[in-house]
């Protein structure tokens, strides 16, 4: 039996060897795509917000809430129609980082586990993707809040 150290070294060597055969992800192209599509989503959201404030005479806070709701609803609809994953394949972080990604991560397991019933299927799996993000995000915000409070 080989000891753990040599095993780990061998695994590392093999990993480096495998890398020679693996095509590199197109980081630059993907980055540019994400930048442009993400920017477009945000610009569109901003345009809607401006329209709500100017034409519909909404307050800024109310307009922001409506825009958020609109983004979430659009992402949910696109997920339900089966278009979001195709879109995300092209846009990458461009449509995952805005709140649209969050909406998608809630709806996609909901659709997936419909067959297992409304409670133990959808209910249990609804947060299977978004849950860990929420837990870590909220924890991080508490820590950040504590730091800010200490610095006062």
């Amino acid at each position: 039996m080989k000891n753990n150290k040599t095993k780990k070294q061998e695994a590392k060597q093999y990993e480096a060897y495998v890398k020679e055969f693996t095509p590199k992800p197109k980081v630059l192209v993907n980055g540019v795509k994400a930048f442009i599509t993400g920017g477009l989503i945000c610009a569109a959201a901003y345009a809607v917000q401006t329209w709500l404030i100017r034409t519909m005479n909404l307050g800024e806070d109310a307009a922001k809430t409506w825009v958020t709701v609109l983004l979430i609803c659009t992402a949910q609809l696109l997920t339900g129609l089966g278009w979001f994953d195709t879109l995300a394949k092209f846009c990458g972080a461009g449509c995952i980082v805005p709140i649209t990604g969050f909406a998608n991560s809630m709806v996609s397991p909901a659709i997936e586990y419909k067959a297992e019933g409304p409670v133990l299927g959808v209910g249990a799996k609804l947060f299977s993707v978004a849950g860990p993000v929420l837990v870590c995000g909220i924890t991080a915000s508490v820590v950040a809040g504590l730091i800010q409070w200490c610095m006062r």
Partner: protein, 341 residues
């Protein structure tokens, strides 16, 4: 008489006949370059069922029914059903077996299940413990994705090394008795060892399995005292484009180059334009190409002797969640065409 060759290989003195075979594939696979070799292509991957799992079960049963029809073996005369899939506790194969009412042994070898079942079936028939046996394996993109990865509609980008689980089922009917026409027989097999090169990335399955495939190939040639040129074709299961190139490179470094006759079902299943990155994977990938293309080519006489080797990545959602590396395995089976010359 001793049927063992070396430690891992066996030869069959009665050499079981492959009397029937069939491959059923999904929409995407049916649009791929192997289209003409498949017996049935689904119009819709849900196959008229309510859940993906039921659809896969129906697909597996369809492949078995078609193979029985192809071999003209009535269901009642089948003594044994051997097979498996990727879904927890072999859900798919269990449901297909429930519908078929043939004595059933479920097998799990991850994506290596097709040759695993062929080896088991051959042993039963060679030893006289069964007259007719069905060997089958299945995978479905939609059932595997939800179990091993993310929900289908979840928006994410797959890395270049990722492989696409093939929606496909393959089935072969083995028999102790010959059938009319050209005969295909199983003459030998090599049972693989588990080899774990330490890969932890679930998107590097081909690389995780390649060393196991190399190990089985080298052992096979040593045990059987053969070289790659003794075969018209050597086909691995689902190493994909990356794993295939690793295998070619490793075999060359071992002084046993296989370039001429070697290919991989995962690399054959799709074209680049189908956007599957490193190729196909899943039990059905090798099962459908072996049962579809290889058997038909042997019947047509373009192949005389084939070495088929399904490859499996023995991971689970628990093992990858706990950060464990992926053990690989590969089993090889020798198919020989007889007569017609």
């Amino acid at each position: 008489m001793n049927h063992q060759r070396g430690k891992q290989s066996i030869v069959f003195s009665n050499r079981p006949y492959v009397v029937g075979a069939a491959a059923v594939v999904g929409v995407k696979e049916g649009q791929g370059p192997q289209r003409k070799w498949f017996d049935f292509i689904l119009e819709d991957d849900i196959f008229g069922e309510k859940t993906w799992e039921k659809a896969e079960g129906k697909m597996l049963k369809k492949a078995i029914d078609l193979a029985l029809g192809d071999g003209r073996v009535p269901e009642k005369q089948v003594d044994l059903l051997l097979g498996g899939d990727l879904i927890n506790q072999l859900m798919i194969a269990n449901y297909a077996a429930r519908d078929l009412q043939i004595p059933f042994l479920g097998l799990y070898g991850a994506c290596s299940t097709m040759t695993e079942s062929l080896i088991m079936g051959s042993v039963f028939i060679d030893g006289g413990y069964a007259s007719n046996a069905v060997c089958a394996a299945s995978s479905h993109y939609c059932t595997a994705e939800r179990q091993f990865r993310m929900p289908l509609e979840h928006g994410n980008q797959r890395p270049p090394s990722a492989q696409w689980t093939a929606t496909a089922s393959g089935s072969m009917v083995l028999s102790g008795r010959r059938s009319p026409g050209r005969n295909i027989r199983i003459s030998a097999a090599t049972i693989g060892r588990v080899v774990d090169p330490g890969i932890k990335d679930v998107n590097q399955m081909g690389a995780a399995m390649a060393p196991a495939a190399v190990d089985t190939l080298l052992t096979h040639f040593r045990d059987m005292d053969r070289t790659p040129s003794d075969y018209d074709v050597i086909l691995s299961g689902d190493l994909g484009n990356i794993g295939k190139n690793i295998l070619i490179d490793m075999m060359e470094k071992q002084g046993c180059p296989v370039t001429e006759q070697y290919n991989d079902c995962g690399a054959l299943m799709y074209t680049d334009s189908q956007d599957v990155h490193s190729g196909g994977s899943g039990c059905g990938c090798s099962a459908s190409i072996f049962s579809g293309r290889v058997i038909k080519e042997m019947r047509q006489g373009t192949l005389r002797r084939a070495l088929i080797m399904s490859t499996g990545a023995l991971l689970s959602t628990i093992s990858s969640g706990q950060g464990e590396s992926i053990p690989g395995i590969a089993h090889a089976v020798v198919l020989e065409a007889e007569g017609g010359e």
